[in-house]
Symmetry: C2
DNA sequence: TTGAAAGCGGTACCAG
DNA sequence: CTGGTACCGCTTTCAA
C-alpha cells in the first residue's frame, strides 16, 4: 500500500503539498501533473483512518436497530445510507437484539470508533444510559422519543394515522373492532393504541378486545386467533409483523374479518380486499434521521428537533 | 475525550504500561488497580482509529449488496454481523444499486477505510475490476461465483434444489410448467433454470414457457400474467421478489395454478396451498461468508474455497 | 506556492 | 515488569 510519502517522493514534492492538492488546493500546473501521475502510477489511495485521526471526523455513522432482518429496520438503514453516501459517510450497522445492555455496548463501540453520529432505534427507555455511552456523539432516534428531550428524533403521526384508518373502517361498516397491540413499553405502540381508542370512542363504540402482541408474526397469529374467538369483524394490527401474523392465521372465520394493518406493505396485493394498510415512509424516516444527524454535527448546540412525518 | 496519556498520568504509570494492561498483560497488582481507577474516573475508552492505525487491522468488515431493502441482503448482513460481532468486528454496509461502477467505488472506499475484509454480492461479472479495487483486501462472494476462481464464495445448491422442487410438483400432478426466470447474466439464475429444465427433461416434459423476470416484484407479476395466458398449471419463480409478484397478480385463472417459489419465506402462510417454497438459509450464508473471510484474514494464501450449502 | 515538522492516540520495541 | 520512544499515515500550522 503506497502512502502519501511515496507519492511525494515519486512526484518530487513534499508530503504537505500532496496532501493539500488531494484536498482540493490548487498548485503549480507542473506539480499537479506530477502528483496526478505519481498517484496513478502507484495506485495510491489515501488512508481514511489516518485522515480521520487528524481531522477528528471519521465520516462514519452508526445505525443500531433491535433486529436487522426486519422490514422496518432495513428500510430505515437504506434511507440513512442513501442520504449519507453522497456526503462521503459510510454506515455501520449493529443489532442490539432488543436488549438494552447490548445496545449500550454497541453505542460505546461506535464511540470508540469515533463515529460522527448515530441513528438509534432504542430498545429500552434508559435515555441517561445512552447519553452516557454516546458521550459527545450526536444521536438521532427513529420511531421513538425519550422522556428527557435530549435527542433529535423522527416519528410518524401514529395516533392520527391509526385514528384515521380506524374511522374509515367504521365508516365502512365495522362495528366489532379488536386490536393486536404492541408492547406497552413502546411509545409508538401506545400512540397507535390511543388512536384506535379515540376513533372508537368518538363513534361511541367499545373495543371488543385489545390483545398484546409483542410485535412478532407469532404474536400476530395468536392475537388474531383470540380476536376471532371474541367475534370481531375488524382487527387493527399495530405493526408489520403483527399484520403478517394476523393475515396468515388459517381460520375460516378470518375470511369475513377485515384487517387494518400498520405497515402492511406489499401484503395488500397478496391478500386482496381483506387488508387495508397504512404504510410508514420508512426510507424517508431514515433519510430524515440522517438529515437531523448532519445538522447536529454541524451545529451541536442547535435546539433539539422532533420530526413527525405525515402518514 | 481522555486519552491513554491522561490515564497514564492519572495512574502514575507510563503509557506503555497502560496500553499493555488494556491489551491483556498482567502487571503489579497495585498498578492494575490504579489504572482501573483512572480509567473509571476519567471514563476513558480507547480510540479504535489510533489503534487500528498502529496494528494495521481496522476490525471492520464491509458488506456490499445490490439493494439494502431486500430480504436476502438483509438476512445475509444479519448473518455476517452475528458471526462477527463477538470477534470484535463491526459491519459496514453499502448499497451498489446493482451497478458495477458504483460497486467498484464502494469496494475502493472500503479499502480506503482499511476494512479487513469484504462480503460481496456482485452486480456484474468483472472479477478483475473488483480484484483491482480490493487490492489485498480479502473478498468473499455471496450467491455468486466468478469466472476466475479468485474469491471465496458461498452459494446454495441451486440446481439441485430447483430440480427437487420441480420433480415434486410433477409427481404431484403438474404437467404444464412455466418458469419466471432471473437474468441470464446471474449465475444462480442460470442454475435454477437448469434444475427446472432437468426435472422436466427427465419426466419427458417440455416447459410451456420460460419468461425472463429480472428479479423484481413487477417482473413476477408480468411473468405470471404471461404464463397464465400460456395456460400453465404450475409456475416456478426463481427468487423471492418474483414469487411475491407471481402470487400477488390478481387473476381468477391463478387460483388453480400452483406456484413454486424460491425464497417464498413466510408467504406460505399468507397464501396457503398455492405456494410451495424452497428457502435459502440466508443467515447461514452470511455466517459462512464471514467464516471464510476470517479464515482468509488469518491465512491469506490458503486455497480458494467455494461452499455450497444444502437446500 | 511550498517544505519542514509537530502532532492525532495508540502500540511495540528496547533498555533497564 | 516498567518507562521511554519511534512510528502508523495523514493534516496543518509556521516559515521561507
Amino acid at each position: 500500500m503506497p502512502t502519501i510519502k511515496d507519492v511525494a517522493r515519486e512526484a518530487g514534492v513534499s508530503v504537505g503539498t500532496v496532501s493539500r492538492y488531494l484536498n482540493g488546493a490548487v498548485l503549480k500546473e507542473q506539480n499537479q501533473r506530477r502528483i496526478d501521475a505519481a498517484v496513478a502510477r502507484l495506485g495510491y489511495r489515501r488512508n481514511a483512518l489516518a485522515r480521520s485521526m487528524k481531522t477528528g471526523r471519521s465520516m462514519l455513522v452508526g445505525v443500531i436497530v433491535p433486529a436487522l432482518s426486519n422490514m422496518f429496520s432495513m428500510r430505515v438503514i437504506e434511507g440513512v445510507e442513501h442520504a449519507l453516501e453522497g456526503r462521503g459517510f459510510s454506515v455501520l450497522v449493529a443489532d442490539s437484539g432488543g436488549d438494552a445492555v447490548r445496545e449500550r455496548e454497541k453505542v460505546a463501540l461506535l464511540r470508540e470508533r469515533m463515529a460522527d453520529g448515530l441513528v438509534l432505534m432504542p430498545s429500552g427507555g434508559a435515555a441517561r444510559a445512552i447519553l452516557r455511552a454516546a458521550g459527545k456523539m450526536p444521536v438521532a432516534l427513529i420511531d421513538r422519543e425519550m422522556d428527557e428531550r435530549c435527542f433529535d428524533s423522527v416519528l410518524v403521526k401514529n395516533e392520527a394515522g391509526a385514528y384515521r384508518m380506524v374511522r374509515a373502517a367504521i365508516a365502512d361498516g365495522a362495528r366489532r373492532l379488536g386490536m393486536i397491540a404492541g408492547p406497552e413499553t413502546v411509545q409508538t405502540a401506545r400512540e397507535r393504541r390511543a388512536g384506535f381508542l379515540r376513533a372508537l370512542a368518538e363513534c361511541r363504540l367499545a373495543p371488543v378486545t385489545i390483545v398484546p402482541g409483542d410485535y412478532t408474526v407469532e404474536g400476530g397469529k395468536a392475537g388474531m386467533s383470540a380476536l376471532l374467538d371474541a367475534g370481531v369483524d375488524a382487527v387493527f394490527a399495530a405493526n408489520h409483523e403483527l399484520t403478517v401474523g394476523a393475515l396468515s392465521l388459517r381460520d375460516p372465520r378470518a375470511a369475513n374479518v377485515r384487517v387494518l394493518g400498520f405497515d402492511g406493505m406489499e401484503l395488500g396485493d397478496l391478500c386482496g380486499e381483506r387488508l387495508t394498510s397504512l404504510n410508514q415512509p420508512m426510507e424517508e424516516m431514515g433519510r430524515a434521521a440522517a438529515g437531523l444527524l448532519l445538522a447536529r454535527i454541524e451545529r451541536p448546540d442547535a435546539p433539539i428537533q422532533s420530526l413527525r412525518l405525515p402518514l
